[in-house]
């Protein structure tokens, strides 16, 4: 197990390097300069050069990559990296490591750090909103998306697993049909369409809107739990439908398969009650693939959050990414895409590891 995890973790490193490099490469291939967005009608070569210098866009490709990652210092003239003697070498690493050392409470010198990159959790600055650091925005947007995702998963599990189990233990009954039809409908109707319908018909027929709609600022859970849950209830319910359907279907098929197993038949023949057979013998084993699929749905949740946040006017990561794409704030898009990728990879890692932990066949395989 430890070996497996170690291998899996090690594999992450080249992938992350590749991911970050590809992201950077893609966004540097774009011709034209984001500077045009700021200077608008005052664009002269002089203005553009000044703006590019401000955002470090005038440097060469690899240097920009290094600075963005935070392995090269930001200062472009006479920086620590352009060392001439090997004696400077340790300085470079000490500087690079300073944020981490500070985090651990080890750093004692108070020289300002010159490394400002992804590795230091500094994701650059917006071109459109002048001087706005991506990191600052993340403090507001990340909790929104996280809560949306967590609540959606919760809803999906609460809706999906019981329905799937019920449908599996009564196959062919009207109940089963209802569950199956519901699941295929939930799977097919795009969630942004559901979201629009909820708002449109709520507004048109009842003059109703989701609670706290358009306040622009979601109250944190620990500030006011009730208001917080009010705000997130409908967005996360809508977002959860597709995943609930997937969970429902998988629970059902997984249960059907498990119920055919010998040990379940044995349990039946022992005269155990249905409840015991279903809950204690079948469901536990049927849950292994379901847990995996829950993990895999996170990628879908991230994508769905872009649409749902947009419709429900929530200021989360998805809306942030979308706004940045629309305004072509590409330095922000670049960092956000990387963050999404890292989160996604990490979640996949957790899923893989937990799967291995749950299923001995993989662990020892």
């Amino acid at each position: 197990m430890r070996n497996y995890m170690f291998r899996r973790l090690l594999l992450i490193i080249p992938i992350m390097i590749l991911v970050s490099f590809m992201t950077h490469l893609t966004f540097r291939l774009i011709p034209g300069s984001p500077a045009h967005l700021i200077c608008q009608f005052q664009c002269t070569d002089e203005v553009i050069a000044a703006i590019e210098a401000q955002h470090g866009l005038d440097e060469n490709f690899f240097r920009q990559y290094g600075e963005w990652l935070g392995v090269l210092p930001d200062d472009d003239v006479g920086s620590t990296f352009t060392y001439t003697s090997p004696g400077d070498y340790p300085d470079y690493f000490r500087e690079f490591a300073r944020p981490y050392a500070e985090f651990l409470g080890l750093s004692s010198d108070d020289k300002p750090n010159q490394f400002h990159g992804v590795m230091q959790a500094e994701f650059g600055e917006s071109v459109i909103i002048r001087d706005e650091a991506v990191t600052d925005r993340l403090q507001n947007t990340l909790p929104v998306t996280l809560e949306l995702m967590i609540l959606s998963l919760l809803f999906a599990v609460v809706l999906g697993i019981p329905a799937g189990v019920l449908s599996a233990i009564r196959p062919g009954t009207p109940l089963d049909w209802i569950v199956r039809l519901t699941s295929v409908a939930w799977l097919s109707v795009p969630n942004f369409y559901v979201a629009i319908l909820v708002i449109t018909f709520g507004q048109a027929w009842f003059g109703w809107l989701p609670p706290n709609f358009g306040t622009g600022h979601a109250v944190g859970f620990f500030e006011d739990p009730l208001q917080n849950l009010e705000t997130y209830f409908f967005p996360s319910l809508v977002l959860s439908l597709g995943i609930a359907a997937v969970i429902m279907r998988l629970t059902r098929s997984s249960m059907l398969e498990v119920m055919r197993n010998d040990y379940v038949r044995t349990a039946w023949s022992k005269g155990l009650r249905e409840r015991t057979v279903v809950w204690r013998h079948a469901l536990k084993n049927a849950m292994i693939p379901v847990l995996t699929i829950i993990g895999l749905q996170v990628g879908g949740l991230i994508g769905g959050s872009v649409l749902i946040e947009s419709v429900f006017a929530l200021n989360g990561m998805g809306n942030y990414l979308l706004t940045s794409v629309i305004t072509r704030d590409l330095l922000v898009v670049q960092s956000l895409v990387l963050i999404f990728a890292v989160v996604f990879v990490l979640i996949n890692l957790i899923v893989d590891v937990s799967y291995a932990w749950l299923d001995p066949r993989i662990r020892y395989g």
Partner: protein, 570 residues
């Protein structure tokens, strides 16, 4: 190795049915509670507070203001998208009545003297005792004096990313940034003056523009470090405590504002939602006190009958025009331009997009009644005549028409622009001109389409501005930026007229010149095809009061913007 997995261990613990039931019950309860939370909290339409006619303006309360556009920054000298907020956090020299085109001395300047007959010298006597807000983390309590004006003018006039610099160039007598500081004089602490090399009529209007905010000298000096795009360092009626350009902006009252008892409000919160449907829905639900949504006539009528809302409308300066590239065929041919011009179904735009309430725009927008050509003339001139247009096309050798692309900037949120573009395309189909709309991202549009003149036709709203000089400048050889126009149009006679009107302080004479210039432009059928302009609508909750109606001229005794806004919910 017989390591037990989680399920085996869980099974060994013998999870009792009671525990399972308990878990189930908790889940069910939680779900039910969530349902109650979700539905019980419905607030839409519930909040109907009507106005109490007995209330008089008074202090207290705060308002939430919807906003359809992200704020790129609130530095008045550099950021164009946050100017409405900059006006609330910085002091200005004076206010402006756009209709009467007169100065209101309600801010820093007590008076403005122009002693010489050419109106080239400006001498301001400043108010004493205006100080930076004590809320500022640094530079609190600093005097806003003549040196502040001078430094602010220098910063506004010389920062390379600052907008339109025609006026500061006129003060300095050249475009060299080093020439500006010596031209600005501070004879004493509360007198600020400068003398321009040549008369420039728009100067008076320009200084009331929100980009000419005044900051204390040390703020100007330390500007790069202070991040003025995100923080306010001013002596205006409010102070910005939270800035999130895509999300929300929170302003609180400046306790040290120089007008006693003002501003009335304790705070203003801007909520930024770039999607018009959500913005309007939120206002309807009572989440916003002042609507930021782009409203249509239908919404206006809807709210008019609602006692919990106050509505107003005013002519919109928004100015959608088609630019044609005269360097390229067939737009160099005046008959083609005329055909395109008279083929446009302007009445249809008014009917469909402006709900019947619109007027024809000439080279100067119709709401600028003092300068624009009379409606009868425009309506007669631009009368739709498809037959004549076809004839003109045939005369020009394009009997079979031609096909071309019309580039438009992609402006999500401003939907009616696209509707107008579709009507234009539809109109031109009738004279066999096949126009494809080509949307371009705003940044790329400005940088690689508009400025370099990389288009055949482009449909683009010229920025609204209530001075005749600016709309005319689009036709000048040097263009509106002073660096050359985008359409390749040159007409020395017109250039001379445009320059003459910017020097003519006599209003009647200026009107004559401007009319002459516009008539010249009409006959050219280009390089811009002007369309129509409509009304702009605004709505607030009934308990929020502006000191004067939206779009109306502020009265003579109006105080600076935002200071007299008040709410009954205090």
């Amino acid at each position: 190795m017989q390591e037990q997995n989680y399920w085996q261990r869980l099974a060994r613990k013998k999870v009792s049915r009671r525990a399972l039931l308990g878990t189930g019950a908790t889940t069910a309860l939680g779900g039910a509670a969530a349902l109650v939370v979700g539905c019980g909290g419905s607030n839409g339409g519930g909040q109907k507070i009507t106005s109490d006619p007995n209330r008089t303006p008074g202090p207290g309360g705060s308002v939430t203001w919807g906003r359809p556009v992200s704020v790129g920054g609130i530095d008045p000298h550099l950021d164009l998208t946050g100017l409405d907020i900059a006006t609330l956090v910085y002091p200005y020299l004076y206010g402006w009545q756009p209709g009467a085109e007169r100065v209101i001395f309600n801010n820093l300047a007590l008076s403005l003297e122009m002693p010489d007959p050419d109106h080239t010298e400006f001498i301001f006597t400043l108010r004493e005792g205006v100080k930076n807000s004590s809320l500022l983390p640094e530079f609190a309590g600093e005097d806003i004096d003549s040196e502040a004006c001078r430094q602010s003018f220098i910063r506004r006039g010389t920062s390379i990313t600052a907008p339109d610099k025609r006026f500061p160039h006129k003060i300095a007598g050249s475009s060299d940034p080093d020439m500006l500081p010596p031209a600005l004089k501070t004879p004493d602490k509360y007198t600020f003056s400068f003398k321009m090399a040549e008369p420039f009529v728009p100067a008076v209007r320009e200084m009331a523009n929100p980009t000419w905010g005044i900051m204390s000298p040390s703020v100007c000096e330390n500007a790069p470090r202070l991040v003025l795009g995100q923080n306010s360092y001013g002596a205006g009626p409010f102070y910005c405590t939270e800035f999130n350009g895509n999300e929300r902006i929170v302003l609180v009252k400046n306790p040290d504002y120089w007008i006693e008892g003002h501003p009335y409000l304790d705070g203003i919160t801007y909520v930024i939602i770039t999607d018009n449907s959500s913005l309007l829905a939120a206002f309807k639900a009572g989440q916003h006190d002042i609507s930021g949504a782009i409203l249509g006539k239908e919404d206006f009528d809807d709210f008019s009958t609602d006692t919990s809302k106050t509505v107003a409308k005013a002519p919109s300066l928004f100015y959608p025009v088609v630019h044609m590239n005269l360097r390229r065929a067939p737009f160099d041919e005046i008959r083609v331009r005329e055909a395109l011009n008279i083929a446009i179904d302007r009445d249809l735009i008014i009917t469909l997009v402006q709900s019947g309430e619109g007027e024809y725009n000439g080279p100067i927008q119709w709401p600028q009644v003092k300068w624009a050509l009379p409606q009868e003339k425009l309506r007669a001139f631009y009368k739709r005549d498809v037959e004549r247009a076809k004839q003109l096309m045939a005369d020009a050798g394009y009997a079979d028409g031609f096909s071309t692309k019309m580039k438009t900037p992609r402006l999500p949120g401003i939907n009616f622009l696209n509707d107008i573009a579709r009507i234009l395309v539809d109109s031109w189909k009738e004279i066999n001109v096949d126009v494809q709309i080509d949307e371009v991202e705003l940044g790329a549009y400005i940088g690689s389409t508009l400025l370099p003149g990389n288009f055949d036709m482009t449909f683009f709203p010229n920025l609204p501005y209530d001075e005749p000089d600016r709309p005319l400048a689009f036709y000048h050889s040097l263009g509106v930026t002073g660096a050359g126009n985008w359409t390749g149009y040159t007409n020395p006679d017109l250039d001379r007229l445009i320059e003459a009107q910017s020097r003519e302080f006599n209003e009647e004479k200026r009107q004559q010149i401007i009319t002459e210039a516009q008539e010249l432009i009409l006959e050219e059928h280009g390089p811009q095809l002007t369309t129509v302009g409509g009304m702009a609508f605004s709505a607030t909750q009934a308990y929020v009061h502006f000191p004067f109606e939206f779009g109306a001229d502020p009265p003579e005794d109006a105080k600076p913007f935002g200071t007299e806004l008040w709410t009954e919910l205090s």
